[in-house]
């Protein structure tokens, strides 16, 4: 019991200070990585011998899909931490990360659809990857909707934590069943993600973009969490002082 008291008193202030120090570094890193990765990937990387220039959308699509999936796993981890150790910061992280994850999923879906037009000649194909992303978007919607429907903050945090954990157990099952379904109904179509090995000059910018997206995710998550922590701790002295320092 003393520990939950400790967390409640100790963590938000500590988090606010340490995140304030980290934030600029993450911001610079994400800007640099994204800039270099985007220019390299969009301008200098060689054309794909099959798809020409249209393949270049992977420099947005793949990183967004990566972050979207890892974000859901992060939600479940935050949920476990919040439920087991009653750490309030984990509740904040869960609440703040869900909308970012949903946006990333949305970006991955839209770029996937745009990519689909030159590749398949249509904006939407029930491709296994895209379908899984669509279901992931629904899972995010569920978490956001449940969080908003429950007015009590603690109850809402715990309920979304349980839902995120149930969801993360289901994600591999959903993913494999969708892939299986896909092979049943669409045998041997062209798959956008399973390609012959990429040359270095193609995947290196992709790697930079993925890292850049993760840094961007960290930046937006930290910023959202700082605002949320300030709102929650608005009554305490350190929060007021921090606000005064900012204005």
């Amino acid at each position: 019991m003393n520990w939950s008291f400790f967390h409640k008193l100790g963590s938000p202030k500590w988090f606010f200070e340490i995140s304030g120090r980290w934030l600029p570094w993450f911001a610079v890193a994400s800007a640099l990585l994204l800039l270099v990765g985007a220019v390299w990937g969009l301008v200098f990387a060689p054309q794909d011998y099959q798809q020409g220039n249209s393949f270049r959308i992977i420099y947005i699509h793949v990183p967004a899909a990566f972050v979207a999936q890892s974000c859901y796993i992060m939600l479940a981890v935050a949920g476990v931490v919040g439920l087991v150790w009653r750490m309030k910061l984990a509740d904040v992280a869960l609440k703040c990360a869900a909308p970012i994850g949903a946006w990333m999923t949305f970006v991955a879906l839209v770029t996937g659809a745009i990519w689909g037009k030159p590749t398949w000649g249509t904006y939407w194909v029930w491709d296994a990857r895209l379908t899984s992303m669509l279901i992931l978007l629904f899972l995010y919607f569920g978490i956001i909707a449940l969080g908003q429907a429950i007015s009590n903050r603690e109850t809402s945090a715990k309920a979304t934590a349980v839902l995120a954990i149930v969801g993360v157990i289901n994600i591999p099952i959903i993913k494999y069943s969708v892939e299986w379904w896909n092979t049943l109904h669409q045998p041997a179509t062209f798959k956008i993600t399973e390609k012959p090995a990429m040359p270095v000059e193609m995947w290196l910018p992709l790697l930079l973009m993925v890292l850049g997206f993760y840094a961007l995710f960290a930046v937006s998550l930290l910023m959202r969490m700082r605002v949320e922590v300030l709102q929650r701790e608005g009554r305490t002295r350190w929060a007021r002082e921090a606000l005064e320092k900012m204005s």
């Binding site: 019991m1 939950s4 009653r86 009590n152 603690e154 929650r232």
Partner: protein
Amino acid sequence: MKPLPIEVRSLACERDQRELFTAMSFDLQAGEVLQVAGPNGSGKTSLLRILAGLLPAVAGDVHYGGATVFSGRGRERWRQNRLFIGHAPAVKANLTAEENLSWLCALSQPVAAQQIAAALEQVGLRGFEDVPCHTLSAGQQRRVALARLYLEAHPVWILDEPFTAIDKAGVAALEQHIQAHAADGGTVILTTHHSLEHLEGVRCLDLGQVA
């Protein structure tokens, strides 16, 4: 089962970002009756729900017989020793009084039908054993719930507004029963807006003043 002393140590409760009480501490010996008083919204129900184990406390601890009631062995013992009757009487409208009681008792210890009939007679519901509870009035439904106090052998009672919707005679009988339980060495924690001053040995915890 013999009741053990209850110790409440710097308990704090928060509802919707509003602090209801902090650093609340008190001791309760076997045989004591504690009336939790205070204006609406002062946290009476929350305190009772924390004590019962329904609501997690923000901080602090409750000990029963020296062990915390929030985890481990202490919680197991507490679950078998305390009886909680909340605002909602937990009486199913589509079941009869007898079926309701036999299920509610079975949740801790099953009882025989004759005992249920006797308890219903004690709360003035003789002849209503086989009537579906939706035909009973609010006061009668509350009496069905309170019949558990005559059936189950829990040393600690936690009662949230037990006198709601009950007529004068019923209140007097219940007060007597509570006193008898305390005289037997049992512990009672209850909230009520009704004055219990005429009862001997009732301690009062005023949340309006603590806060």
